[in-house]
Symmetry: C2
Subunit: 352 residues, 2 copies
DNA sequence: ATTAGCTGTTTAAACGTTTAGATTTGTAAG
DNA sequence: CTTACAAATCTAAACGTTTAAACAGCTAAT
């Protein structure tokens, strides 16, 4: 048996299908008594509207394509949750495709041509499905200009950007500045930083924040305290060992992610340096495990949910042809735990 | 300007729209020279098919609704990845909705009526979008009979089930049996177990595996070694402390998840018991952090990707009206790391 | 009583496909 | 050159909606 359609209920209610459509959408006045006949029929026949037909006519699906480089990477789920959140409230649906980039072309887009293929396949399938727009969720923040062509549909990037499109990023520079301020407030001044790979924007931004803090707080600047990591645990380990071997080692380390902190902890342990007693450390990302390590590590939390929410909100405006309002970057927020100690109890400082 | 449709290309190629459709789908023979005229026109006008129209006519969208209780919980992304994987190969697309259950009605479905509302809203929106079927991804394995009504569409559950529908689960009983065998092989016989909440099927299944191992390997059975946890770190901590305080403490602990192992580690540390020297521990889930703890913990990995893959594969058969073949439960697989020690070096035993 | 202006309702076309069934074209046999 | 048949192509309806435009019925103003 065919599913019941607007036609059936028109028949039952003894009105035209147009009228049914009008009561369904409230697009035109209909006499209360007619209205009731229609809603009764709807009820009785257990009518469910067919959005596919509606989409065809309206040329609008209320569906957006979400392209994730890799949903299994820690940032993606929270972002998706944010997207879902806004979608819920504005009747937007999510067509998800997972590029599985790392598993296919390797970190750093090893095979660029292959990447372009996967991505453009995904895009063109979504285009066929007539999505109203796209959100791209990267795993690293990099320039993707020229890699993806979404025809004339709007797209919003997050953890990635292009020179022509809007992208949502959190305020990295400010985040590391915040972390530094916190350390300074705890009495530290000889503060080392372990960066991520320097081809990433966040790494550079965060380094900027570090420099600004060094300047603002008049910290002793020592290039030996600046270490280039690669986001992986081993680099945290190795670089911390180097830092601790310095004639004048730092009293605190700012690590650009929590994973490298695992290495920091291990190195400190092996050098017999206690955390937070003799060395403080702050991570980035607020990964779940940062609460499970000993000591529980203090870290900068990323506004992932908010980024997703803001991405789709922006997309929503683009779809509706609204001017997109000035974007305010979501801020990171310090999660205070046990890996930072007070250096000189007398210098718990002023600024908030 | 309207997007170019089959009509435009028919015009350009000087054929009827039917013919265009035939070359597009290969559903009927068309003379090579006509075929070329059509493909040329397609090329020239940069035609992209409209799946919405196709879906309307065909009454099939090639889209499935994936309902996740919470995508931010560790199991969901890998499962989604598996679903995406199969979808990729069989031209199935994913319409994702995140219920955010924990954030809304709390663990354990605090407010059942509210839950039913959220779920049935999600379902009916997806139904309107004419999905061909559903996959439900739970966060705990529980009976959801009567909570979700997907009309006449097929649904496959994972991490959750109902009395009427198919559900994909991994083999829990076997998993804990495997873990036990491993411990036995390492010379342990006095093995404690810390369970999750006992309202969960996995907890009970895993306990069964434990009992079977105790029997098969003729281990001394001591009810004092069986502890009821609640999946949370604190219970791991508390119960381990109790175990270590026993007159005859266990030499190994099987914890039903990795989170509780964090508590185990802490308790052992505070009791001055070294792991794996004096106490061995195996976790469950192969959470990323299990590799970051010290010692790196040995754990049973869950076949999440495979579960997702198998779920959609099954759904695919249901959608196509195929008899669904005998399901073989995906198996867990031991990830060997550093938290299990050999008890009596002379008894590294036979069975593999 | 006619007209004008509402309000509510219907008619019919359109969205971009697929697909029976009809029709045309081409080919081979008589 | 017919005829028969197969192959290629076309016609037209259908999928379930929305919506512009036409229309009907009523009220109020002239």
């Amino acid at each position: 048996m065919r599913k019941t359609s607007i036609k059936d209920i028109a028949l039952k209610a003894n009105v035209s299908i147009a009228t049914v459509s009008y009561v369904l959408n409230g697009t035109r006045n209909v006499r209360p008594e007619t209205h009731k006949r229609v809603t009764d029929a709807i009820e009785e026949l257990n009518y469910k509207p067919n959005d596919i037909a509606k989409s065809l006519k309206r040329n609008r699906t209320n569906t957006i394509g979400v392209i994730a480089e890799d949903v299994t990477v820690f940032n993606a789920p929270e972002i998706i949750d944010g997207i879902n959140d806004f979608g819920d409230r504005h009747d937007l649906h999510i067509l998800l495709v997972n590029l599985r980039l790392d598993k296919r072309v390797g970190h750093n887009f090893g095979d660029l041509e292959a990447y372009r293929n996967y991505a453009s396949n995904a895009v063109s399938e979504l285009l066929s499905k007539q999505v109203d727009g796209f959100i791209y969720i990267g795993v690293h923040t990099r320039d993707l200009t020229g890699l993806i062509d979404v025809e004339d549909k709007p797209i919003v990037y997050t953890y990635g950007y292009t020179q022509n499109d809007i992208s949502i990023q959190y305020n990295d520079e400010q985040a590391s500045y915040k972390a530094m301020s916190y350390l300074v407030r705890k009495g530290h001044s000889r503060i080392a930083i372990i960066s991520g790979l320097m081809d990433s924007i966040p790494s550079r931004q965060r380094l900027n924040g570090y420099y600004r803090a060094v300047t603002d707080f008049e910290l002793p600047f020592d290039p030996l305290l600046i270490k280039m990591g690669d986001w992986e645990r081993e680099s945290g380990y190795r670089l911390t060992a180097e830092l601790l071997a310095l004639p004048e080692p730092p009293t605190a380390i700012l690590s650009m992610n929590d994973v490298m902190v695992v290495g920091v902890l291990q190195a400190a342990d092996e050098c017999g340096v206690s955390i937070p007693g003799e060395l403080s450390v702050i991570g980035f990302d607020n990964r779940e495990f940062s609460d499970y390590l000993r000591p529980r590590i203090t870290t900068m939390g990323l506004p992932l949910h908010q980024m997703g929410y803001q991405a789709i909100e922006t997309l929503y405006h683009l779809i509706n042809g609204n001017k997109v309002q000035k974007l305010v970057m979501p801020e990171c927020c310090l999660i205070e735990r046990d890996s930072v100690g007070v250096l000189n109890s007398d210098v718990e400082q002023k600024q908030e």
